[in-house]
Amino acid sequence: MDDLIKLVRTYRLTAGLAERIRLAEEICRMIQPDLRYFVFSSVPPQVAEDVMQEILKAVATGMKKFEGGTTKEFWAWCYSIARHKLNDHYREKAADRMQPMPPDDLWQIMELSAQDTPMSPATRHDLEYALKLLTASKPECNELLWRHYVTGLDYAEIAEERDLNYDTIRMKIGRCLDEAKSLVS
């Protein structure tokens, strides 16, 4: 069995405070990188840290009630909490929904990755093409393509996030891709 779900199961059965704190910390350290990516690619960095704290607190204090038995179910539960916290945040501050970043700024962030994994000219070319695909269309399309291809949300998750049905989102993303490809080629 996966280490993460083992820790979660142990946490649910643990009565002592010190052990609970130790387990909660260990679990949060394991889930933090993926959730940070999700949050930091959804809201501006100046508010992302606060939202992140809310999510981790909700996960830690809700684990006693988590009823799943697999790592996959636990991740789904964590992401569901994260989406709810982001939606709460959007309701309070609609302006904080991630505004599209200019391609030049995005590229500057991408350059940071080259410090650890150098970019060959071919890789650079591929990444520039990907960036054009993701930023060439109208803002609504760019956001949908970004959520799907960069943040990694599937159609169902984007549909839930936007209160739309699965097929509507699937069709929209398909049309956005058509548009982006025609603009880039």
Partner: protein, 73 residues
């Protein structure tokens, strides 16, 4: 509707992997990022202990009014 070629899928995948690495570098988790989590677990534990120590007191069940005693002969 457009389908992504395998080549484009790989490009977008490489982009997301690198973007993820870049974001983690630009916005690393602060050292004390889990302090509030520990506080929240502690607070939840204390609430549980308080609830155990002082179980909710059931309101007294209504008893029928007692008839006055018969006067002694």
């Amino acid at each position: 509707m457009a389908e992504l070629s395998q080549e484009d899928q790989l490009r977008l995948h490489e982009f997301s992997v690198r973007y993820r690495a870049a974001l983690a570098k630009k916005y690393p988790a602060p050292e004390n990022s889990l302090d509030t989590v520990k506080d929240a677990v502690r607070e939840q534990y204390e609430q549980e202990m308080d609830a155990k120590r002082s179980p909710t007191i059931e309101p007294p069940s209504p008893t029928p009014e007692r008839e006055p005693d018969e006067p002694e002969p």
